[in-house]
Amino acid sequence: MKTSRRDFLATASLAAAYVPMSWPAQTMLRSPMLSSEQVAPGHALTIVFDEHLADSRAFALRSRTMGARIVPLGNDIGVLWFERLMPLASSPGNTIVGLTTHANAFLLTRFAQGIGLRVAQRAAGAHAGPDMLVMWQLVANGARSCS
């Protein structure tokens, strides 16, 4: 069966979030962290997705079937951070993963670093071009770091 790019992205992103695995060779590795930092046992997984991007929507839909909570970026990423993601990220037992554009990944990464979270991220796509999406994960361990 032929796998579309969208299916591939959704599956690969979800797999990276849940299962310890190396990313396929054709994905561009941006950080060595993501493959070794999957959702901890017992953690609730929240998936942030961009409702304007088909790949991101597909990722979210697949995640939901596996029990993840999905959160759209909405109209204002700042409001999303302060009202939903920051409270989640600040409480134990939560892992937050997203598949977004580089710009939104940058913003959420910076917000997360501001409260001492570690962030892992990598490009999710065969090319680091304009269509590149970034998969990122917020790791609440109190240590500051940056990928």
């Binding site: 700042g78 940058f106 913003l107 670093q113 680091a128 500051r144």
Partner: protein, 524 residues
Amino acid sequence: MNDPLRPPGVPEPEFQQALAAFRSIVGQNAVLARDDAAQPYLDPFAPGDAHAYEASAIVMVSNVEQLRAVLGVANRYGVPLWSVSTGRNFAYGGAAPRLKGSVVLDLQRMNRVIEINETLGYALVEPGVSYYDLYRALQSQGVRLWLDPPAAGWGSVIGNTLERGFGTTPYGDHAAMQCGMEVMLANGEIIRTGMGAMNGNQDWQVFKAGFGPSYDAMFMQSNFGIVTKLGIWLMPKPEGYMLCRYQFKHDADLESIVETLRPLKLDDTIQSNAVIESAVRWAAGVSTRKQWYDGPGAIPDGAIETMTRKLGIGRWNLRFCLYGPEALVKARRDVIHQRFSSIADSELMESPYTDANVEPKGGGDRSQVGIPNLDAFNLLNWRGGSGAHIDFSPVCAPLGRDAVRQYRMISDRAAHYGFDYYGGFTAGPRSMHHIFAAIFNRDDPAQARDAGELLKTLINDFGAAGYGQYRTHLAFMDLAASQYDFNNHALMRMSERIKEALDPNGILSPGKQGIWPRKTKERN
């Protein structure tokens, strides 16, 4: 393995003693040193090696008492401190220090909204208060005041005001809307400016001058003190508003746009700052470059024509907002429409008059009604990869000939280096901020290097033509400052004398805006 970074001129044992003293003041967890502690403070948009502006450590203070004690330690050991409010000065260096090895003094934990006065229309805030924070405070208290957010709403109110940032409401000149400061000098002494200099006076945030010399502006874009509190005027929430957007079909329309706009800004018919955006700047908010052009060099004219047609935008796009009672707003609208309709092929659009309680959706529109947002960062997706940008920000008189000259100077040079003209003008009554962003993929060393070279070239070009910048990236502060050369740089000599008098040990933000302490200059 490299030796751990430390401040220049400070031996390792003394630096370790200083760090231990900092920890005793602010706590273990509020001093970050070693390993990759300074990583989040590196400039993510550095046009070259970000480590050239790397901090040796971070110290986070929570109140003025801690700040005073930290300054005492810094004076004792000669440790240079680079103060940041929230560290979001992206495109100009972020939280990174000008002098490699400085200790970043992070003020984000000083984050109290001390007062909101609805009657007199002001707020008094600490450095760690962001525009989002202040907006949320206004909302939660049901206060009928609007703030003026800059393009990036996550920045510090104090930080942006001290950098003379701007927004797009009638209160868009942030430095002009500042009233009253509390400042800690390098020796730990606290002063208050204006009426704040008088015990028991209640007018600190309503009358700027006070009695005698006025010093507020001295602490903007400088390294003469650390501002610990700042008053900012807020706009009374109007009855309603009307968002207006005009499209102009021709590249050559810029001169007419500026000439038509100037009198309308000067007599306050257009109340908000007005923004003239190039086609690429508008398109970068809603599309990526590859949709229009995927070849080498700057995006060609033909591709821009296709892009404007398909996106339904102009070669130049003007946006502004009108505020107040409906009858007044519509009267202003009619005058403005009539003036701009003389420009051939222009398309004049407006949203319906809207109750002030109704929020618009788009980021640029939200900014014009006092709602912070981050939509401006969409430009990071324009070129693909790990998008970054550095900004060139010359001041331009609101004269058509100057606007066209600056636009041509930048677009020609940008094309030479392979960059699109992502630019625009934000117009106040008597001046415009001309902002050009050199957008690059930071994972592409050649692009990053070219962005830096382009900026250097532009600063020199503009200096030779008699234009100066209002703000610049860390990497170009000395060069930008050197353009201000009247009477053989007399103003800089005065700044250096003030620096020497107020901060003889040179601990406060060495190199900020090209102002270096004497001891640093002598060492180098």
